[in-house]
Symmetry: C2
Subunit: 241 residues, 2 copies
């Protein structure tokens, strides 16, 4: 009889570099290393771990790639604060994200805009409002009475909002979302571009600005939700696997 092999589990198949990387992470924790601390040199690591310089270099290069360490000739290496957004960015640059991931990210953007109302109201300044006012006036002038969906205008207006949030991570996140936004927009059917708002629901940039001036976070959330209606309509109608 032929016995089944369902129970036996594969022995872990880590490359030498993988192991070294894990070991390095341990090392950092054990020694409680902080940002700015300098590291032993490559050769010392190699010797201490009993591997070639090639291997330790590859492991360190991984860390350098995700921004955990920086290296300079002669000075050696130091621990640095990783830039999480930059990592994000790098992955996106290669245009290899699948449809689902792009939709997910697009949804994320909608969520952020609706959700960030409290931050805006807590941190808005007089100058912010004035700057936003100028932006809205310019948009209105260019639209010239026609309410058309203009990607350029959208971006200008909403970028300013993100900036007002005073949350750098959020801000940079939005910068990097723009290409995705672009992609989803280009892919948009004509029907969506000429979206008909439900009666009385249309919220213009001017409306949003006015709420930001005199209203409260709650009203702003609902207004933004309606402002983004066409986009919500679009993603919420998708059947997800």
């Amino acid at each position: 009889m032929k016995t089944k092999l369902s129970k036996i589990k594969p022995l872990e198949n880590l490359s030498l570099v993988d192991k070294v990387e894990l070991r390095l992470k341990e090392y950092f924790k054990e020694n409680n290393l902080k940002i700015g601390d300098s590291l032993p040199k490559e050769l010392e690591f190699a010797e201490a771990l009993g591997v070639s310089r090639t291997v330790i270099r590859e492991a360190l290069l991984r860390l350098r790639t995700i921004g955990v360490i920086q290296s300079k000739k002669r000075s050696g290496m130091i621990l640095t604060q990783p830039d999480i957004i930059q990592n994000f960015e790098k992955a996106i640059e290669y245009n290899l994200l699948g449809e689902e991931a792009l939709v997910d990210i697009f949804e994320l953007r909608l969520i952020l805009e609706v959700g960030m109302a409290d931050l805006l109201f807590a941190r808005k300044t007089e100058e912010d409002i004035n700057a936003l006012d100028k932006i809205v006036s310019k948009i209105e002038k260019e639209e010239n009475g026609n309410v058309v969906f203009s990607l350029k205008h959208e971006i200008t207006f909403h970028s300013k909002l993100y900036q007002m949030s005073n949350n750098l991570t959020l801000q940079r996140f939005q910068d990097l979302l723009l290409p995705v936004f672009n992609y989803v927009h280009d892919d948009m059917p004509e029907s969506a571009k000429n979206f008909q708002y439900s009666k009385g629901k249309f919220v213009s940039h001017r409306d949003l600005l006015n709420i930001l001036k005199d209203g409260n976070a709650e009203d702003f959330r609902e207004a933004m939700r309606n402002h983004l209606e066409p986009h919500f309509e679009r993603v919420l109608s998708l059947i997800k696997a």
Copy 2:
């Protein structure tokens, strides 16, 4: 007089590996390579670019680190879909994020929870509601009448919400936010843990569930906002640089 050199721009100070990496990116775009496509072998790249295998390997390793390519012995390399969240995760694992970044990320989480109401209402299922009901009942039982802030309970409940969003990126994002959440929570002063809600404002998990059952997105947003009141209070009171 010593002339200022503010305008002159530094000649590009890119390492050979940097240049090769850029060249590779170009190559991918020019040839319109897609996920799953296989790449020439290291030696061919090295020869074509006129660099050593060491250099091309380091450039490729960077791509491997951010998840743009995968390599296997003998089979060579193929393009893969980068996992943006994983990149994020790796950077966080090293506990090197500064205070500001952590606060930014914590704020992000608050924004997401308030903003994701529409997704929840569009995608909730009968099973989701039942599962959530069980979770709430369990929490209530353990709380035994006392409304204490329990990180464990918070996580269980809110994780389920993220799961209901049916947005995998969002879900994984939250998984990875937990350590940050933990950190910020541990750092919380006792006063915040015993936060007194404004009169009539307290929203329990049960309240949220009920709205999710019979209410609408708008109500849910406001309820969630109040549910998270102590956290909002905390971050919005911070003076940011």
